[in-house]
């Protein structure tokens, strides 16, 4: 058999290749958009996006900005884990954005108003998101309400709930919540020296924690009895019930874990104190939706999600380096949006590759067959002599 094909057939390899294709395509389309708007600065601009922190002059600042990209990767990774976990077990968690909000809400509130330590804030944040997930799951399990519908509803409820509650943690002037580092230091995540390593105070244990979660989710899905049950339930509720699994519990549990992951993302991000919540926000955070793109770009694999989340953050961050004398301010968002959009096409390209492979294989085996036949004819001829 053709030697290259088995490798290409490998799911992991396919995911990798298709992800790369998507990324390149995204960059090309992004470049085209820039070029159409203003041909002069296009090359410069797209390079700026790709280079992101490499645009910085010194290695110290590069490292610092790399650290900040990582700070933003952690919440995205958790959101994408939430999406892919639910997806793998047959549910589409579009409520990530709302669950993320709830994580932020409880984290900041309990940190600033109740003065709880960081781990309690984190825990309460996770619980809030998990509870919201549980609600979705309950509605699905007992009333067969589509999780997409309830997820979208809960997104808005959560957003405005968060805005409302965090009025209590607002700075006197402006519309943002307080800086935890100045007002509630005990709630800020510890760094364990990571801040020194990167030369940036916002780099905390959020990053290793997020990576650990990715590994845990991978293990859960792939290696454990619980994962076996959850996936079976997601794929065929009736069969799950038939073989005695607690199918309703499993649906709810899936959403609880999904909600908890997303909320953990929100809590970790805001407990790093890298940013402040705008209590007048009128749209749900994009993190939840980028999480969907990251999940697919990572081939729906928790370990793949680590890299895809980083890439998407890298590109979004890199948008800041587009020269604003050539382009309007929104261009950065537009470019990263285009690239992220194309990232969703991983499955599409995968199917394409598989079809191609099949055709190639068919041609190959047909040839092989002809060759064998020809050889047979020859040897038969030889025998007769």
């Amino acid at each position: 058999m053709n030697k290259k094909n088995p490798l290409l057939r490998n799911n992991g390899v396919q995911t990798f290749i298709t992800s790369i294709i998507c990324i390149i395509l995204g960059l090309i389309v992004g470049f085209a958009a820039l070029w159409i708007i203003n041909a002069d600065g296009a090359g410069q601009a797209i390079l700026g996006v790709i280079k992101n922190f490499f645009n910085k002059p010194t290695s110290a600042t590069r490292l610092q900005y790399f650290g900040q990209t990582l700070v933003k990767t952690a919440p995205l990774l958790l959101c994408s884990l939430s999406v892919l976990f639910a997806y793998k077990v047959g549910l589409f968690n579009i409520g990530v954005a709302g669950q993320y909000c709830l994580g932020v809400m409880m984290a900041i509130y309990s940190g600033y108003v109740w003065k709880l330590p960081w781990w309690a804030c984190l825990l309460l944040g996770i619980i809030a998101g998990a509870a919201s997930g549980a609600l979705c799951g309950l509605l699905k399990a007992y009333f067969n309400v589509n999780v997409v519908i309830s997820g979208i509803m809960l997104n808005w409820i959560s957003l405005y709930g968060t805005n409302l509650l965090l009025q209590a943690a607002k700075e006197k002037t402006g519309k943002d919540t307080v800086r935890l580092l100045s007002k509630a230091k005990q709630a800020v995540l510890p760094s364990l020296g990571l801040d020194k390593l990167f030369g940036d105070k916002y780099v905390t244990i959020a990053i290793p924690l997020a990576i650990i979660m990715a590994v845990l989710i991978w293990i859960l899905l792939d290696k454990t009895k619980l994962g076996f049950e959850l996936k079976a339930t997601g794929n065929n509720v009736n069969a799950a019930k038939y073989c005695g699994m607690k199918e309703n519990r499993n649906i709810i549990l899936t959403m609880v874990i999904g909600g908890g992951l997303a909320a953990m993302g929100g809590a970790l991000y805001y407990l790093s104190d890298y940013t402040q919540w705008n209590v007048n926000a009128s749209s749900v955070p994009g993190m939840g939706f980028n999480g969907i793109a990251a999940a697919f770009l990572g081939g729906l694999n928790p370990l793949g999600a680590i890299f895809s989340s980083y890439f998407i953050t890298h590109i979004t961050d890199g948008g800041a380096y587009v020269d604003l004398s050539h382009y309007c301010a929104q261009i950065a968002d537009l470019i990263s949006a285009v690239i992220i959009y194309l990232c969703g096409f991983v499955l599409f390209f995968k199917t394409l590759i598989n079809n191609r492979l099949r055709k190639a294989e068919e041609r190959f085996t047909a040839k092989e067959r002809d060759a064998v036949k020809a050889a047979e004819v020859k040897s038969e001829g030889g025998n007769q002599k």
Binding site: F228, N238, A239, K241, Y242, G244, K246, T365
Partner: protein, 508 residues
């Protein structure tokens, strides 16, 4: 040159790990009924799916009326007048019967549905061919038999000329089968050409003109039915002689294993009726009790009630002396109850799981397959699956790692049977266990069931197939409209007498 409606010439179709069709030629005459026979996994469904445009063959051509045609998808097939009833129905579960029938060819004026017209046509067709359906019932609520009839109506509605029936009779009652045979003969007389897959040799002998036999993906031969016998056909197909009736000693029933006391189960499709009404019976160690009856008389719900898939509305069930009326399914299973479900795709399998994962579906939580920390012991799962695959001759492209979805219907069934019998249950509930199995596999499974009985276990068999009922059971309970209307001794009764009970004409 002969006049063929369809010719499939030198078709080869491969799947990962297996050549499903290896250089197969099949020629269908106009107006004939052509049977396709072969063991489970021989490649029958694959060949038909190629004809219906679901798969593209790697080699070979298809000719219609002597002209080469390319069938890229079912739409092409439909345009060429080819219709297919699939082995596993392709119906939209939450649509009504009528909507399923007209799906894709909805009559409309300026984009607005004209359902009335469609309904009339469907009703007319169903009357003409005696295919009883309720056009407004939703698919997920109706019996498998009615789903089947919906599929057939779908083809007739589209006025297809070449009709493919992939194991249509596997799910029908004897009466329905008889009717279907008449329908097929009528259709053939009208000039339609029919391809008919069945594992039941009697049916082939009765209805077909010719029969093509496949074995392990290869073409074995085509014979005229008039000049052959059942035995010869099965020899062509399996490569050896097959015993049609399994020898068994008289039963020696002992202790009661299952004691059903006046149970009532609500009906899903009719709000105010009970599917099972005040039913009582016992099954003892060492006997095979069979529930016979026409499909849809409450057998399905009775089994749901006993296995715990549906709650009881009334009554009590004792299993091994314990009240299990409210016991969860898992508990019943670990106590020693096994259940070969009626619908293998709905309950029996997680189609996206591999064969090995499906094989441990009832046992994955046992210490052998999950360690104390909750991690799966994958090598034990693999070993166990390999043993069962070997013992029960479950054939597939890639062995334990084949996705269940990619297995032939009969082999999916064998995997389920293997899983349920190997659990060594005290009570084996087997609903249509041999549905879709080839004669060789049926012989094997029947032997397993008898062996299981002889080892001192109880078997509750639900079957629509009278032959199976007669040959396998030690006691027959006939169900009619949710009630048990008679208890018969298979040695003393006749198929005719049983038929009277089943039709409600007689009761004890």
């Amino acid at each position: 040159m002969e006049n063929y409606a369809i010719e499939m010439l030198n078709i080869t179709k491969r799947f990962p790990g297996i050549i499903a069709n290896d250089n197969i030629t099949l020629q269908l005459r106009k107006g004939e009924i052509h049977a396709l026979l072969g063991e489970n996994g021989a490649g029958k469904s694959t060949l038909m799916s190629v004809l219906f445009g679901l798969y593209q063959p790697e080699e070979g051509v298809i000719k219609k009326d002597g002209k080469v045609v390319k069938i890229n998808d079912p739409n092409d097939a439909n345009r060429l007048g080819i219709g297919m009833v699939h082995q596993h129905f392709k119906l939209v579960e939450c649509f009504s019967v009528l909507d399923n029938i007209i799906l894709g060819v909805e009559p409309n004026t300026a984009g607005f549905l004209q359902k009335k017209e469609a309904r009339e046509k469907v009703v007319a067709l169903s009357e003409k061919y005696g295919l009883q359906v309720d056009p407004d019932a939703v698919i997920e609520d109706i019996t498998v038999g009615m789903q089947q009839r919906t599929e057939i109506l779908k083809m007739l509605y589209r006025e297809n000329e070449i009709l493919i029936f992939d194991e249509p009779t596997a799910v029908l009652t004897p009466q329905e089968i008889e009717e279907l045979m008449q329908i097929m003969k009528g259709l053939a007389k009208e000039g339609k050409s029919i391809l008919f897959i069945s594992h039941k040799l009697n049916e082939i002998m009765e209805v077909a003109d010719r029969c093509t036999v496949l074995r392990k993906g290869k073409y074995i031969g085509t014979v005229e039915i008039a000049g052959t016998t059942k035995e010869e056909l099965s020899r062509m197909m399996v490569g050896r002689d097959v015993e049609f009736v399994v020898p068994k000693d008289p039963a020696k029933p002992t202790d009661v294993v299952l004691d059903v006391q006046g149970i009532t189960v609500a009906s899903k499709s009719h709000k105010h009726k009970n599917a099972v009404n005040n039913v009582s019976f016992q099954v003892r160690k060492g006997e095979i009790v069979c529930i016979a009856g026409i499909d849809g008389n409450g057998q399905t719900e009775l089994v749901y009630g006993i296995s715990g898939l549906e709650p009881l509305k009334g009554g009590r069930i004792e299993f091994l002396g314990q009240d299990i009326t409210k016991m969860p399914i898992r508990k019943r299973s670990t106590m020693g109850m096994s259940h070969i479900p009626e619908d293998r795709h709905k309950h029996g399998l997680v189609l996206d799981y591999t064969l090995e994962n499906n094989i441990v579906l009832q046992r994955y939580f046992e210490p052998e397959f999950t360690n104390a920390a909750g991690f799966l012991r994958k090598d034990n799962i693999r070993k166990y699956a390999e043993r069962l695959i070997d013992e029960y001759d479950v054939r597939s492209g890639q062995g334990p790692i084949t996705p269940a979805r990619a297995m032939s219907g009969g082999n999916q069934q064998k995997a389920i049977i293997a899983r349920e019998i190997d659990k060594d249950p005290k009570l084996l509930i087997a609903v249509q266990p041999t549905r879709g199995l080839d004669v060789g596999a049926i012989e094997f499974i029947h032997k397993q069931i008898v062996k299981h009985r002889d080892a001192g276990n109880a078997v509750l068999l639900v079957s629509l197939e009278l032959e199976e009922v007669m040959s396998l059971s030690d006691r027959i309970l006939v169900m009619y409209e949710g009630e048990i209307v008679g208890e018969l001794d298979p040695k003393k009764t006749t198929v005719e007498e049983m038929g009277l009970y089943m039709a409600g004409a007689k009761r004890q």
